[in-house]
Amino acid sequence: MTDMDIQAGLRTVFLEVFGSGLPPLTPAMCAATVPGWDSIRMMAIIVGLERHFGVRLRAREVEALDDVGDIAALLRRKLGARQTAPG
């Protein structure tokens, strides 16, 4: 799975959780900047990520996540994704 696959999967999961009004994902997006991103939505994100990517996330891994960039990095580690240069 490439980094672009991870980005696309993240977008899919976040749209499922937050709806179509969600702006484009950026690495810096976090609970403080996305309205409604509370602990309940976080659990929905985790369920979506586990289903979409076929991974299992531990609570301590999730607690260490600060933003979307951290989520992508965690998935990259879990999936052993190779970096794909943009363009």
Binding site: S39, I40, M43, R51, R56, E63
Partner: protein, 219 residues
């Protein structure tokens, strides 16, 4: 230093107080459910098997409003989670609770930081609540040796108990009877639970109404 407090119910109050002291990004299994202590023990003993099976979920309505959903297998009351009983909503809540159940079991993994479990009295626990709390502690201890349990009861005449990693004490109620409880007492108790050496083993207490010493110590 941040301690890993984990609510064991019996309702939302422990999680609300824990989260105000140590905010977290996720939710633990017992954070926003209500469950008697005997059923808490049974659920953990059975590794959360048969959780939220459709045939066991019973809605409770107040007039026309869905007030809660009860898993009748475990007497587990979901008072905040279900927006409706539409199949998609039920599946979404179930999926989240299966993750929470898995995370709860992960706490017994030695790779995880030692959990400081906290249980508050629950209306349905009955007069044997302390005996059940000790049984709960023994169950948790059988899964992992370095767990600790703080049990907060509502009996002002029962002495504080400190037996190694098990503690119990009277939880001072708030002046205004607000459902989040006495925040000052909670904070002092949680800090004391984390910081007082847990090898300390009891002391003589005067007869009569008790005030746990850590509940009246200034924060």
């Amino acid at each position: 230093m941040t301690f890993r407090f984990i609510s064991l119910g019996g309702d939302c109050q422990p999680a609300v107080q824990i989260n105000s002291l140590n905010p977290t990004r996720t939710r633990s299994f017992f954070d926003v459910v209500s469950i008697p202590i005997a059923q808490t023990i049974a659920l953990i003993e059975n590794d959360f098997q048969d959780l939220m099976l459709t045939e066991n979920l019973r809605p409770v309505y107040v007039e026309d409003t869905l007030e809660r959903v009860v898993d009748t297998r475990w007497d587990l009351h979901f008072v905040h989670d279900f927006p409706s009983l539409e199949p998609e909503a039920v599946e979404a809540v179930r999926a989240q609770y299966l993750v929470r159940a898995r995370w709860f079991m992960d706490l017994f993994d030695d790779e995880e930081a030692p959990p400081y479990f906290v249980r508050r009295w629950f209306n349905g626990d009955g007069p044997e609540d302390e005996r059940e709390a000790i049984r709960l502690f023994e169950l948790l201890r059988s899964r992992r040796r370095d767990v600790r349990l703080l049990y907060l009861h509502n009996d002002p005449f029962r002495p504080e108990r400190v037996f190694g990693a098990y503690r119990s004490a009277y939880l001072l109620p708030p002046d205004n009877a607000h459902w989040v409880g006495n925040t000052g007492a909670w904070r002092t108790m949680l800090r004391d639970f984390a910081l007082r050496p847990h090898e300390e083993t009891g002391f003589a207490l005067p007869a009569g109404k008790q005030r746990p010493r850590f509940a009246v110590r200034s924060a």
